[in-house]
Structures are given as structure tokens and as C-alpha cells.
Symmetry: C2
Subunit: 285 residues, 2 copies
């Protein structure tokens, strides 16, 4: 395993850790302020959310690189199935392409894909999985032409109704196999997979396919499934064991810190949040 | 698969469907009223919660049988690990034995075991799983002497911090294998396992080990992870496919309806709830 205690070059901030993924949360720092704060601390990368970027992808990407960082990824595709899709198939694909364009504009190789939930009128995950696979396969060529990879992110099964139809690394790998394209892989998020005792069996099959590794922690008393993630070390996930499994697949990318925390970390001074992230990253991740 | 359209003899009411699992919920019907209402409708069984029984296990069991029903199970063991255990090892085992005594007093063969979450100071599920297996193994002989079987219930991974350390049928079977005793099996609840695409592979390994099958539905927009379950047909679970997998293991027991629903079904007239359960059971389960 890589030694994270020496420097922060493998650390990427997902701006959701400052509440930037949702309206009305966080301290309201500008994108530029976040970039500067990460650069000053020696972080290696930043991951943005589409709502932060608007029409300024190119400029923001340049700003990140000028600060000595990389854009490590973009969150995220639209939901491709389920009750929260942006419209009919054409609307879904248009928005999927727009997210790919934005990733390309930022100069990042990785677009996170959250699949969306169970399509109304269907039962169980299988039919929705097939529809997701079809849409991802159709978008993948468009993405490849723009040097963008699509990272399928399995979500905790609690998001199975409306946000995801893939729930485990195995589900994501199964979908990757269906699609069979080089620029489609997976993102692994501690929050979603920490509980899965089969990872020791399934992770080796992800060799060469891991495009992102997201860390936070699972709080024993999780008060809100979406917005009460824990800072690394405050929960029950076995962080080092998980990273070891991820790195054994050959993954050498960023360790992306993504802590959705409406009632705790999002209410603190972002400087404190970033300092704690850096400290926990060095010692606990 | 059994034909449920003809009669309700395979239907068991879990009294949680009327809010009887928690203080302050439901219409407040007496245990006797619930028994009579189930008997009048031709239900086959009832599953109670410990809080309803007090010191009247024998009398309530007799009352159920006099109404032409069986006590189909008891909810549940204390949490055996995690932050919500009733005390030290001695206190946990005492309460575990008390729940076994109550099941025996009611005259039911099945005690549902919800394992409890991740033990404080540990990381990941493995260590807690081992401790649960040890406590279940120690209690199993006591249970066997009282003709009680212990049904390990895997919970949706969203309960991984504080309520469970087994999350899939595979996890439960793995624990059964560790314990290796005839009166330890598993309970399968639609709410907890509907999302799992590996069930077609793992369920055959559960042959002869399924002690309970619980049904409700997973609402696409689940507002509360504990108390917002859906009535069968209102959600995205593939109920008939799940029952087929369960019955292919040789299970011929009750289909136990367990709908925790603080903001919907628990606010309705229990007569309406029971009638809807019966109708959905015949047509959709």
C-alpha cells in the first residue's frame, strides 16, 4: 500500500465535503477559494459537482492546474433510470452528453455515473440495470472521443428505490462486463461498500477497472442516509483494509474525500474541515 | 409455488404492521382484539413482539390457538453486538435466554435474531460477526431444549452501524455454517434483501435452513429507513420472484406480513389494514 503519511499528493477533495453539492449548504466559499485552499495545503486533486461549474469548465480546469492540482473527477451523470431521470430517453442522453462535455472541458478523465433507481412499472433491479447498461454503452463512444472514462458507482442498497440499481462492486463489475468497453469502469466509495464481506472475492475481478476511490466513514448512528456521512475515523468502516483491496487491483489514483454532512462538517469553517481531512488522510486512510 | 389466491392459511400477521412493535404507534388494539381479527379473517398465524407479551406468554399462546391460529414467531432476540446491546456479555445472554423462554411460552418454534451492529472499538463487520456467532451458538442449546429455533435475519446494509452485522443471505448462511447447529437458520425479509442480484446463486444454499419469510415492499421514495416500509405492491420489490426462490429451498412456512409504516398504515383503521393485507397477499405475494 502507498504511504499516505508523507504528503497529500494522493488526496483529492470532493467539494461535497464542504457542502458544495447542494444548494443552501456549506460556508459558501467560491470555487476559487476552494482551489486556493487545497493548493496551499498540498492536496493533489479536486472533484467538482456540475452545479459549481456552469459554463466555466475550461477556466476552472485551468485555475486548478495553475494552483498545482488536477481535476480528479466530476460528479456526475444524470440518473439514467428510475423516478428521478431528467426526462425521456433523448433528454437523458442529452444531459449525459452534457456531463461528459463538462468533464472534458474541466480536463478530467473521470465522470462518476450514478445509475438512478428502479424504473417505474418494473420490479426488482434487473430490468433497470439493462436499461442503464444500454445508455452507458451508447454514451461511452461519445465519452471516449473526449478522453473521458465513465465510473459506475454502486450505491448502498438503501438508495435502491430512487438513486441506484447497482448496489455492490459485483453489480458494477457485472454491468462493466455487459458493456465491455475500455472506458467504462467503476468507482468505489467506502460509504456504499464498507459492509460487504464479499469484497475480498470480488475486488480482484476489478483489476484495471477502478477509476475512483471515495472515502469517508459510516457512523454507527447514522441520522440521515444521504447527508450524515462521517469523517474518516469517526465510524465503523475498516478504511485501510478497503484501500488495500482497492490498491491490489492496481489502482494508483486519488483517494477522494467525500463527506456529506449537513449537521456537522458542513457547519464548520472550511479551513478546519480541510485541515482535519488532511490529518485523517495521513493517519487513518 | 404455492397458490395463495384461495385462502389465507399461509398468511401470518406480524403485529408490527399495526404499529405494535413500538410505543406510541398504531390504534392501540389489545392483543386479544388482534387475535380475533386475524382469526375472523382466516389468517394462519400471528407473530408478536416481546413488548406485547409481558408475563402472559402461555395465555396469549393459548388464546391464539383457541382462535384457530398459530403463533408463527416472536420478534426478537436482543441485539447481541453493537452500540445497542442490553449490557455486558452476561446481560446479553440473560436477555437472549429470556426471549427464548418467551418464544417457548408462546408455543412458537421461531425466534427472530437481529444480530446488532458493529461493536464499538472494532472496524468492519467481521469481528462483530464472530461475536454474534459465539453468542448464538451458546444460546442454541438452551433454545433446542425448549424446542425453539433461532432465525438469523440479515438486514439491509443501511442498518450496519447499530442494528446488524449481517447484511445478505450469504452473510447469514456463512454464520449458520460457522455455528453448525440444526436449530439455527435464517429469516428472509423482502425489505432487507429485495435488491440482491446474487440471490439466485445463494438461495439454493439455504435449502432446509429458511425459518421465516417476511414480506412488505420497498417504496421508491423511502422517507424513513426504519418506519416507512411499503404495503405489498406499492414498491419496487419483485415479490413473486423472491417467494419462488424461498420456496425452492423447501420452505413451506408462513408468509409473514411486516409493514413498519408510521406515517401511513399505522395511522389507518386496523380493520382496513388487515383487509388490504389479505387482498394483497392473495393477488401479489
Amino acid at each position: 500500500m502507498r504511504d499516505f503519511s508523507k504528503d497529500l499528493s494522493a488526496l483529492a477533495l470532493n467539494t461535497a465535503s464542504l457542502g458544495h453539492n447542494l444548494d443552501g449548504y456549506g460556508a459558501g466559499w467560491s470555487t476559487e477559494a476552494v482551489i486556493d485552499a487545497c493548493g496551499a495545503r498540498g492536496f493533489g486533486g479536486i472533484v467538482f459537482w456540475r452545479r459549481e461549474i456552469g459554463t466555466s469548465a475550461q477556466q476552472i480546469g485551468d485555475r486548478v492546474r495553475a494552483a498545482g492540482l488536477e481535476v480528479a473527477g466530476l460528479c456526475r451523470s444524470p440518473f439514467l433510470t428510475g423516478p428521478l431521470v431528467p426526462g425521456d430517453d433523448a433528454a437523458i442522453m442529452d444531459d449525459f452528453h452534457a456531463s461528459i462535455d463538462m468533464a472534458a472541458g474541466l480536463g478530467t478523465e473521470v465522470l462518476t455515473v450514478v445509475t438512478g433507481g428502479i424504473d417505474p412499472g418494473t420490479k426488482g433491479p434487473l430490468e433497470s440495470q439493462k436499461r442503464v447498461a444500454d445508455r452507458v454503452a451508447r454514451a461511452a463512444e461519445y465519452a471516449a472521443a473526449r478522453n473521458v472514462k465513465l465510473a459506475l458507482e454502486p450505491l448502498n442498497p438503501m438508495f435502491g428505490g430512487n438513486r441506484s440499481c447497482i448496489f455492490t462492486v459485483r453489480d458494477a463489475l457485472h454491468m462493466c462486463d455487459w458493456i465491455g468497453l475500455d472506458n467504462v469502469g467503476l468507482a468505489i466509495d467506502v460509504y456504499h461498500v464498507w459492509w460487504d464481506s464479499t469484497l475480498t472475492e470480488t475486488m480482484p475481478r476489478a483489476t484495471g477497472k477502478v477509476l475512483g476511490y471515495h472515502v469517508c466513514d459510516w457512523l454507527a448512528e447514522t441520522r440521515d442516509t444521504l447527508l450524515d456521512r462521517g469523517m474518516m475515523g469517526d465510524g465503523v468502516a475498516d478504511l485501510k483494509a478497503l484501500r488495500q483491496l482497492v490498491e491490489e487491483t492496481g489502482y494508483k489514483g486519488y483517494c477522494e474525500v467525500e463527506v456529506f454532512s449537513a449537521e456537522d462538517w458542513w457547519k464548520r469553517d472550511p479551513n478546519e474541515v480541510l485541515d482535519v481531512i488532511a490529518q485523517r488522510f495521513r493517519s487513518l486512510c
